[in-house]
Symmetry: C3
């Protein structure tokens, strides 16, 4: 009972971290594109809630962020903070990628967690995590009329798949869901940071 409540709380806090991260990334993209303050907040909100809504639609359940106002409120606050603090960011594209990496990491493991709860197999866990993780960033970049980061970036989908695979392996080894998710998310975030820092690239087809 208590463990169950802790699990729900931990997932909730983790999701709020992802919501803030994607809200900031969405707001920075909007600022970069010289949108007005409502465009900034709309892009922040859609980016922040997009991943979770896609996850809930895929799982065939009512999107939690349309029922619980806290997600929307946190997304708006994240977007406002980014708009207010934008003067402090001189390298929008760099910080956008950092916050995007945090959002990717959180939503990838949250999506994978849904599939783990449904007792789906490993490929489905990967796909669920991947689609949920990249969802927010894809929606943001589509709305900004750009090719999504996941299709342009050095080691993006790969980072998510590695982290989800580790998360799945840990759960199979009887590690509880939350530590497994946290380790997976940390791994994804660190791989993305390394890829951004050293501009790692995968081979291209000529």
């Amino acid at each position: 009972m208590n463990g169950e409540a802790n699990l729900v709380t931990a997932l909730f806090v983790l999701e709020l971290i992802g919501v803030v991260a994607f809200a900031v990334a969405g707001a920075l993209k909007a600022i970069q594109r010289e949108m007005d303050i409502f465009g900034i907040l709309v892009l922040a909100a859609i980016t922040a809630l997009g991943g979770g809504i896609i996850r809930d639609l895929l799982a065939n359940r009512f999107p939690v962020s349309l029922d619980e106002p806290v997600y929307f409120a946190v997304a708006i606050i994240g977007g406002l903070l980014a708009a207010v603090g934008a003067g402090f960011f001189t390298r929008y594209q760099y910080w956008l990628k950092i916050f995007d990496a945090l959002g990717l990491a959180v939503f990838a493991v949250l999506g994978a967690n849904v599939a783990l709860n449904l007792n789906l197999n490993v490929l489905s866990v990967l796909l669920f995590g991947l689609l949920t993780g990249i969802g927010g960033g894809v929606v943001r970049d589509l709305l900004a009329n750009e090719v999504p980061l996941v299709l342009r970036q050095e080691v993006y989908a790969l980072a998510a798949l590695i982290g989800i695979t580790i998360q799945w392996s840990l759960v199979r080894l009887d590690v509880p869901l939350i530590p497994a998710a946290l380790i997976g998310a940390l791994l994804i975030f660190l791989i993305r940071l390394a890829a951004i820092r050293w501009n790692l690239n995968l081979p291209r087809v000529k």
Copy 2:
């Protein structure tokens, strides 16, 4: 019983108005982009039905426009009328914004109405209305490979949020659903017209 039937009829008529408005807006965008007649009808249909389908997916129910043929038929008729009458429009972008404003107004209050029926709180009513209202135009502009109006335009999301807030307030004051929705829609439409007419802009972040 009678009131219930009137409610359903009124919502149905309102939705058809929104479908025609978005169908015309979608067709005008396709004509502007020099698409062929089927491209025009496809963009008209997807724009016209997109908002409603998004609303129904969010509410986790079967999309009404995939079950009842009248929506599709009305969308196609709207698209055909726009294609036939396109010679009379000299300022596509201007008329596109006018019809888009009508579609936005109608679908915003219809989406909010779903959340009101589900007894969701005010932030969820706002989000439901906003996503349903902007859905058609976002899909249209994405397919035409442009940044959606909602992210570029003076007072677009803001108009929707003001109208939905008034609609929600009226319902809380025991005004019946239909008058509340009509007042909200009228308000959104008028604010958008004023914004288009005087080219109102919100502050941008520098």
Copy 3:
């Protein structure tokens, strides 16, 4: 009982053909845009699974490709084959359209088949088939930041609608579902091939 099993098997095989076709088309688009190997596989997977996921979301059921790993695995294999074999394709855009035509044909009749099973009327069968058929290609082109083929191409939506209409007519004439679907798909594929070969165009609005 046996007929039922045959039906399920036939639909399954048909869907795998569509998955491979769209995976190759997605991979070719990614190669054309000089994406890295993970971008290629992500675009292949999303294109290949996109149509089926849209169909399942519309039918309000859990996406089969997120439950059964075989679809994802086949999509990845298709993408890898396209990446490995890309040296043999000199005219990416041409082959992309050929594989896209096959995917369109398969998913259009599979989507229509869902509506036929739900006993929906003819307009809904058309809409279901159309949205499922064009879904994969639309998602692919949106992610590559292009106007979707369906909106640019000579005889694309029209091909799908003709094939679905024939499929629906055959079912109404008591032809079993599978032969009707196969004939419809063959027709769509041939019309698209003819349109690509002779560059058929529909009238444009001036």
